[in-house]
């Protein structure tokens, strides 16, 4: 008994000592977050941006570090996304460094320090908690515009936008639509993207496709010569020959691709132009569900339990060549290069991707329909609890300005939000962006409506049931209509 007691006491003491020592060692070795700004990209053009930015950073650091005198303003920024989207917070930090340098040059005794937090998933719960405690960040990057506006979490930016309109002239006009709600502008577009259909070139080669045929596929999809029906046949062939485990993968949860895209392609509309109400087009919805039913239950080229599959597994399966077609997003191109999904190669070099992976628009579901894609812009907001809203606004304006926009667009494989970004050297050297740029002409958007999340939930439920074979497309549609009527009431138009 005594020995045991001594054992416990020794263990506890060791544990505490270890933790305290480790804590301070950790503190000492963690050299301030600022230094982690690294722009990793080869190429001559890249260096221009890289150098300016790093230079800015280093200079500012020496300026700001020791002086106890100048007033320090802390701007906090939160964002989320996939592991490559950290630029969403880092760019604000870069913007602050630029501003700091200007302030120092003007001899103004103020420095801005950016505190950043980056989440891997939805962080609305954390945000509401922070708001409740009066500790909300100044800047947030997320989607969810109607909820944020209706709840009073963010402020309208019209005044600032007028004031600094010269800095914002090159924002793509179409993107302003995505930040306008109830007649006011509530955010700046942070990035946008397209959602291509990725395909494995190596598998197509094994199927006997020539190199020319493979390279021509995106163009033929664009012209409508190749439809989803054709690709389903290809997928079946590849599965029959044992080249892949699955023909198609789509997202494990609701997302624009391919569900909204398919619905639009079948002629569906989600929001009524005149009233702003949500719309459900029975015909288009049914066709869309029937297509998924066919893929999962009849042709069996899509796993029936696709919804809910983990992201890791999806990426891992596609990157390792176990899946032929993947309804992904442009940013995945970057993610595969920066996260070790491949079982032998780990993080994939871009050359491997060019060799083995291609991308095209989401093909027309049937002959006679159009190929399409979808963009869902990510947005920067200034929160209602920011004590320096104008400063926060300036920072996000700078953070989305062409040079920084280029860094985010290239590093995370998103599309730029500024027209002039394409002239940035860092951007111009990106082959991926050159090749994917045409897709913007085919893009569509999701509706901006506070009931949209309920709509999505009902929709994904229908999709899950149809793919699993738990309900026929007709039954699932009926249930979806009933649920939505109950939840949305007069905010829904069923056609």
């Amino acid at each position: 008994m005594a020995a045991q007691k001594t054992g416990i006491i020794v263990a506890v003491i060791l544990l505490i000592i270890g933790l305290v020592v480790g804590y301070f060692a950790g503190q000492a070795s963690a050299p301030g977050a600022v230094e982690t700004v690294t722009v990793t990209a080869p190429g001559a053009g890249a260096q221009v941006v890289t150098e300016t930015v790093t230079q800015t950073v280093t200079t500012t650091q020496t300026v700001t570090a020791p002086a106890a005198g100048p007033k320090e303003i802390v701007i906090r920024v939160w964002a989320s996304g996939s592991p490559v989207d950290v630029t969403r917070v880092d760019n604000v930090e870069r913007a602050a460094e630029i501003l700091n340098r200007m302030l120092a040059a003007a001899g103004v005794g103020v420095t801005i320090r950016v505190e950043k937090q980056f989440f891997r998933g939805d962080y609305m719960d954390k945000l509401t908690a922070a708001f409740a405690a009066g500790e909300a960040p100044d800047i947030i990057a997320m989607k969810n515009l109607p909820e944020l506006v209706d709840g009073g979490y963010v402020i309208a930016l019209d005044g600032y936008i007028d004031k600094y309109s010269r800095l914002l002239e090159d924002v793509y006009d179409v993107l302003w639509r995505a930040v306008t709600y109830k007649g006011q502008i509530w955010a700046l577009p942070q990035d946008t993207e397209v959602r291509p259909l990725y395909f494995r070139k190596d598998v197509l080669r094994q199927l006997g496709w020539s190199e020319d045929q493979i390279e021509a596929l995106p163009e033929r999809i664009r012209n409508g010569e190749v439809t989803l029906q054709d690709l389903i046949q290809v997928a079946k062939e590849a599965m029959d020959k044992g080249l892949v485990k699955w023909g198609f993968y789509h997202r494990p949860n609701f997302g624009g691709t391919p569900f909204v895209i398919l619905y639009y392609q079948y002629g569906g509309v989600l929001q009524d132009e005149a009233t702003g109400k949500l719309v459900l087009d029975r015909q288009a919805m049914l066709k869309m569900l029937q297509l998924l039913y066919r893929m999962a239950q009849v042709d069996k080229v899509l796993p029936a339990d696709m919804i809910g599959t983990e992201w890791r597994k999806i990426h891992s399966d596609f990157v390792n060549g176990r899946v032929l077609f993947w309804f992904g997003g442009s940013w995945h191109w970057s993610e595969w290069q920066r996260v070790a999904y491949h079982e032998q190669l780990g993080k994939l070099p871009e050359d491997y991707l060019w060799e083995n992976v291609g991308f095209a628009l989401v093909p027309a579901p049937e002959p006679g329909l159009r190929p399409a894609t979808l963009s869902s812009p990510y947005l920067y907001y200034v929160t209602a609890q920011s004590e320096n809203p104008e400063l926060a606004f300036l920072l996000i304006t700078l953070a989305t300005s062409a040079p920084l926009d280029a860094i985010h667009a290239v590093d995370s494989a998103h599309l730029p939000v500024r027209r002039t970004t394409v002239d940035q050297p860092y951007f111009a050297q990106s082959e991926f962006h050159r090749k994917i740029a045409y897709m913007v002409e085919y893009t569509t958007f999701e509706p901006l409506h506070p009931g949209w999340s309920k709509y999505k939930t009902a929709w994904i439920t229908a999709i899950t049931k149809v793919e699993k074979g738990q309900a026929t497309p007709e039954e699932a549609l009926e249930e979806m209509v009933n649920t939505l009527r109950a939840e949305l009431g007069d905010q829904l138009i069923v056609r």
Binding site: G22, Y23, D125, A129, A132, G134, A340
Partner: protein
């Protein structure tokens, strides 16, 4: 005689089927945790492969996933320790006082109070997190850095209190009245009696309760996950919870090493005091 042999055979079959075979997953998982944490690649059996310490790199450098850097493990472990110690401290203080009163003092409503404590089991606060959040926020125990951890510690301690009080009460019940009476005769007041005569007698009980509540705080997951927003105040459970999402399929070695690191204190406490804990568990009422 044949019947007897049959019965003995049946007995051992029952033992095997109910008490031994179902343990295979538990034992296998545990072995895996050890073996994988020092293996350089994914092990498909329970034999370590390519011995390495690389999985333990999180001890000296922060974990990175893509471009995202997770917080350093030591401050996070420190937070866990802080939470666990606070919970243990509160529980020991509150339960020894309450247990003494329930065991040794006679007052109106005593039996009703005991019933009430048991009845609390009907609605553990884990299902009332929204209300708790609003409450913590209203009394200023939310959002101010470590204060949030204190708020969580209070609620967690509150959850542990009924059982802890009950255990401590059991220990008080076991002390003969004579001991206390002797102290009274010597002219000591209630408080002094409690401190100098009674308390030493229930040290094993206090030990057990503090270990229980320390482990409860150390393992706490849902409340920290729900209430802590700032990476600076993450505890180990939250860090690992997020990292499971990042590294599953990719780096089982790292996950196993972190999981083992997190479990070590639990194993130490449990290993050194299992006899005591088993004894308490037998008397205690805990899911």
């Amino acid at each position: 005689m044949r019947r007897r042999t049959f019965d003995i055979a049946a007995k051992y079959i029952v033992v095997l089927v109910t008490a031994v075979i179902p343990l295979i997953p538990v034992v296998a998982m545990f072995l895996w945790l050890f073996m994988q944490s020092v293996s350089g690649r994914v092990i498909l059996s329970l034999i370590p492969a390519e011995l390495t310490l690389d999985n333990w790199r999180f001890l000296w450098s922060p974990v990175q996933a893509g471009l995202k850097e997770y917080p350093n493990i030591w401050p996070v472990a420190f937070n866990s320790l802080l939470l666990a110690l606070t919970v243990a401290g509160i529980v020991v203080f509150v339960s020894t006082m309450g247990g003494y009163s329930l065991s040794r003092m006679d007052f109106r409503g005593r039996s009703a109070l005991m019933q009430f404590i048991i009845a609390l089991h009907a609605f553990p606060s884990i299902i009332l997190l929204i209300a708790l959040f609003i409450l913590l926020n209203a009394v200023g125990l939310y959002g101010k850095g470590y204060v949030t951890l204190l708020g969580i510690a209070l609620i967690k301690a509150g959850l542990e209190i009924p059982m802890a009080t009950w255990i401590i009460k059991g220990f008080f019940d076991a002390i003969p009245w004579d001991v206390e009476r002797a102290a009274f005769v010597d002219g000591a007041g209630r408080w002094r009696t409690w401190r100098s005569v009674i308390l030493p007698q229930i040290l094993p009980g206090i030990g057990a309760v503090s270990i229980f509540s320390f482990l409860a705080g150390w393992s706490e997951f849902v409340m920290v996950y729900t209430f802590i927003k700032d990476e600076a105040y993450y505890t180990l459970s939250i860090l690992i919870y997020y990292l499971i999402g990042e590294f599953k399929y990719i780096d089982w070695g790292l996950l196993a090493a972190m999981g083992l690191f997190y479990t070590i204190p639990t194993i130490i406490f449990f290993g050194t005091s299992q006899r005591l804990l088993l004894k308490i568990y037998v008397g205690g009422v805990k899911r």
